[in-house]
Structures are given as C-alpha cells and as structure tokens.
Symmetry: C2
Subunit: 340 residues, 2 copies
C-alpha cells in the first residue's frame, strides 16, 4: 500500500479510501491511485484488514468427508451463496464422529479466521461427539434439530416421506415397506417416523422397517430379505441409492419393477431419471438449504437476531418405478415379463 501511495503521490489513507470507496476522494486523485494500483498489482492484505476490523469475511463449514450427495450439493450451494455475499468459505473436513475429531475441528476453526460456522453433520452424531459448540461464534446447523440453542436449516423430511408413502397407498398398495437409513441419522429417523405415521393415519399396519446405511449395497441386502415375500408390493427406500440396491435385488430374483413391486426413493439424484426403470423419488432441494443456511448465518452475524428459517419443501417426482399393484388376475396372466 505504501508503494502505491508513493507511486500516486498521496498518503496511504487516500489509497485506503479509494479501495474501500469510503469518504471523499477527488476524481483525479482516484484515477491516479487506481492507475498506480494497476501498475503495481496491489492487492489489499486480508490479514491486516482482518486484524484491524475483527472481521474475516469468511465462513467455516464443518462437514463429514465422504458425505452424501445431498450434503455435497448443500456444500456447493453454501459456497456459491457465501461467495455471492463476499465471504470466503473455509472447509473443515471431519473424518469420523469420534469425539476428539469433531472437537479438533472446532478448535482448528476457532483458530482459523472465520466469522461464523455452518455445521453439516447429523444431529445424533453431534450429540454423540459431545461437542460443546463454542459460544463466541454464530453457528447454524444443517441436517439437525438441536434447534433450541442455534438456528437450523433443513429439508422437510417428514413431508417428503409422507408424499412417497401416500403415493404408493394411492396407487392401491395395501401397505408400504420401508428401508430406512442408519439409526444414528436424524434424517433417517424423521423419514421413518413420518412413513409410519402416514400408514397409521390411513389405518394401515406398518411392517417392520429394514435398516440400511444409505449405501446401495445396504439397499440390496434389504431387498434380498424382502424379495421372497410375495406380499411385498411397495417399498419406500429412505434414499435413492438404497432404492437402486432394492431394485437390483428384486430384478435379480426375476421380480419385475414396477410390475411386481413398486419402489420409491428419496433425494432426487440427477441420474435417477435415467435408471432402468426411471426411479420415482422425492426431490430435495439442497441448493435452497445451503443458501438459507448462509443467509441465516449472515443474519446472526449482522443483526444478532435469530433468523427464523422454514423447512425446505420437497416434491414427489413420479417416474416408472412405481405403479398400481397387479391384481391376482394380472399375476396369473403375466408371470414375469419385462415391460416396454
């Protein structure tokens, strides 16, 4: 900065004023300074700026590595929104929920230069990690309901699961089986609870849910358990990947999708439409979740007020993996042939 000031024949303060467009600067002077900045390739030093102002214009994100597609998209959206708002994003990956790992992430983040933190980790895993969230920094939680102490943003899991379950019931299926996500997952819990409630509201008995771990492999294993039971005609998988595994299991046993069994997923993976058969799924909007999380954090930062954030809605996308169940007459007529 000093060099620029000398080059332009002004004081450092004037350079500062030009850079920040604050206060009065003569037009000619401004031009001279801008010229000098250009020539010398001057870039303001953010460290000094941060030191002076106490603001870093950076947001920290704590997130599991190897995260789900949805979380990756959320991160992406957070990055985009933060960038729009002139904030940088500092990413702190956490490899497991082991307590010291998560705690270590917080420590690193505290030392690093951030004005606030967005945590994209399942609530239960957070609980498990027994992390005390530092109080100096504003925090927003995603995918979590530790809502009493910090604002949180999330998809409306319950609504989505209801849409999926009702869709299958409306098609005429007597009941709907469920392949749920891992026990520790808050989202999985919400989807499972909502599925059960939806069935019960219709006076239908909910079968015992099978538990997966979000992976297609676990969906396949659940499908293997289900496929030998002829009574199973409709399966709601808690995410698209597990739905893929379920489909594979049934197909492998020669049971047709959706002829013999309807399968609905959850997530809205972009490729779900191109699977064979194209997968009926609940479309999430992680990009909205990410943007809302940033907005909520910035609101806390600026105003100090706790932003009230609504849950982000989902939509059912009906494709070809779900259909009305075969009547017993159908079944006799066409044992197991692929549809067009």
């Amino acid at each position: 900065m000093e060099d620029v000031a000398r080059e332009a024949g002004v004081s450092g303060q004037t350079v500062s004023r030009v850079v920040n467009a604050r206060g009065y600067v003569g037009a000619a002077t401004r031009e001279r300074v801008e010229d000098a900045m250009q020539r010398l390739g001057y870039r303001p030093n953010s460290a000094a700026r941060a030191l002076r102002s106490g603001r870093f214009r950076a947001i920290g994100v704590i997130m599991f590595s190897f995260s789900s597609y949805g979380n990756q998209r959320t991160l992406d959206a957070i990055a985009v929104r933060a960038s729009q708002m002139g904030y940088a994003l500092t990413l702190i990956p956490v490899e497991s929920s082991a307590r010291d790992t998560v705690a270590g992430a917080f420590r690193r983040l505290e030392e690093h230069a951030v004005d606030g933190i967005i945590i994209v980790i399942e609530a239960h895993q957070l609980d498990e990690a027994e992390v005390e969230i530092p109080d100096g920094l504003p925090v927003v939680l995603v995918d979590s309901n530790r809502g009493t102490t910090h604002p949180f943003v999330d998809t409306d899991q319950a609504q989505g699961a209801r849409l999926a379950t009702e869709h299958l019931l409306d098609l005429g299926h007597e009941t709907v089986w469920h392949v749920s996500g891992p026990a520790k997952s808050y989202s999985a819990e919400r989807r499972r609870d909502s599925w059960r409630q939806t069935l019960e509201a219709r006076g239908v008995v909910a079968p015992e849910p099978l538990q997966g771990d979000w992976s297609a492999e676990s969906g396949y294993q659940a499908g293997v358990l289900l496929r030998d039971d002829d009574g199973v005609t409709a399966v709601f998988a808690a995410n698209d990947q597990m739905a893929i595994g379920v489909v594979r299991a049934f197909r492998e046993a020669g049971r047709d999708i959706p002829g013999d069994v309807s399968v609905v997923g959850f997530d809205g993976l972009p490729d779900a439409a191109q699977l064979w058969p194209p997968l009926t799924t609940v479309q999430q909007h992680p990009e909205k979740v990410g943007a809302l999380a940033v907005d909520a954090l910035l609101a806390e930062l600026d105003g100090g007020e706790r932003a009230q954030t609504p849950l982000v809605g989902t939509e059912l996308v009906v494709r070809q993996s779900s259909a009305a169940p075969r009547t017993s007459a159908d079944r006799a007529a066409a044992p197991a042939s692929p549809p067009v």
Copy 2:
C-alpha cells in the same frame, strides 16, 4: 494474549513462546501460562499471526460448482490432506467458465488469505477463460495439462480408456463404440484419443464417437442413436453416468445388457456395483489425486522445487454389464430374455 500474560504474571512474549513451543520457557512458567490460557479461553488470533508471519496456513481451491462426482471426491481428499498438514482450505466456487467469473475467483483468492492455490478445472475451460494465473502464488493444477508452467496432478485417463477398450476387444467384440464427454473437456479428449489409439493398435477401425456431456441424459440420447444398429455390440462410455443412460436406452428397446450389448463405464461410482446389471467400469482414485495435489503444493511452498507427480493409475473392475458377444447361433436361440 495480554490478559493471559497478566493472569500468569509474565510478558506477552513468554505466552507466545508457550503457544508456539519455541525458545526456552521454564517448566513452572509454562504451566502457569497454560493454566491461564485455559481459564481465559485464549485462542491465538490468526489474522495477527498471518500479518506478522506472511503465512496463512491456508490453501485455496478453485473449482466448478456442480462438479462431477470425481471432482467432489478430489475436493474431499484435498480437504482431508490439507487438514492433516495443518492447513485450512478456502473454497472458491466458480459457476461458469465465463472469463470474468474465473478471473474474479482468482482476484477473490488473491485477496483472501491463502499460501497457494489448487485449481480443479478442465484445462480447456481455463484456456477459454484466458486467465493469467497470478505469479505470486504457487499453483497446482488438477485435471489439466497446462503442465509447462505449473505442476499438475491427474488420473491416467489414457491408461483407463485403454483398459476398458482392450477388455471389450478381448471379450471378442469386433469393435467398440464410444460415447465421449464434452468437447471442451481435457479428460474427455484423452479418453477418446486413447480409445481410438487402442482400437487402431489392434487394427480395428474406430467408429465415429458420439458426444455426450457427462450426464446420464446425454448417455441415453447417445444410446437411442446406437440401439437400432444391430452391429453395435460393445459401448465404452466416458463416464459411469453416461453408461447408465446408454444401458437404459438399450433396455428400453428390448436389447439385453450384456446379452446383446456390453457396456463399460469410467469413474468407479460407488453405486455402479449395485446397478442392474452391475456396471463394468474403470475405477479412478480421486482421493489419491487430491492428496498428491496437496503434497505437490506444499512442496512448492516449502522447498520451491517443482514436485514431479506421476499420473494416478486406474483399474478395470469387471462386473456384469460386459460379456462376450453372442454368436449368431446364440442370437437365433435366445432372442431377448433377461439373464439371472
């Protein structure tokens, strides 16, 4: 820091020495200081540190938002490795390759506190953006071959494409069709070139490749064009998503995979094994790419030497979407029925 010093009855400098474990500090004093830090919840201020030392202990990553699965994984690996090495990661998303967008990303990154930059953007898109990479900062490129000016790290695209093509030829297919990635993509280009060379090395004429854009949808469209030609018995798609689309197209027309047509992908999506049929693919290792990129950058940072980084190898994973072609006898015997 001042408070801690007062609390412990020492000077600020001694506190600094304790924090950084540098220089001589008496055992009793150290303990007193550590105690005081604990009590007061002292955290060193990174801005001041950076200002003083000129080092930020942070790495910037420039990457397209909505990036491919592979790049997401690479980012993840970069984050993990950087974190291990005590570096924070600053993520700068770029929404399009429009010149000012990318240039803007650089500017933001220069202003922000980073010691070096890793760029995860296709080389051609970089070229197009006509970005001059700033010379003050060490830069490592991923997914690119602008190798003359900066070190670069990448998957061995050519080797992978060769594996896939040779696999199909070895199964007995007369030739191999190819659904390539977008024209602007360096990876796509390398995979296509290698596919062609492999065919020519075997004295086989390469059919005209079809061009997709990495999406399953585009793979489907390519598949629609191919499926009516009975001569097509083997397709190598430049990524798994397009392979999914290709499979759907053939299935939709009643042509069996792998009975009538073999399909091989590229990427090693974790769910590829659970597709129906499980997809033969070329397994990449983005986690290695990310780690190497960080290592190369840190080597530049510390030593100033240009790290020599090898290409990261791939492996062919043979699953059930590829098989020997039917002989004409087979074809007459079993027109189009699903395998187990």
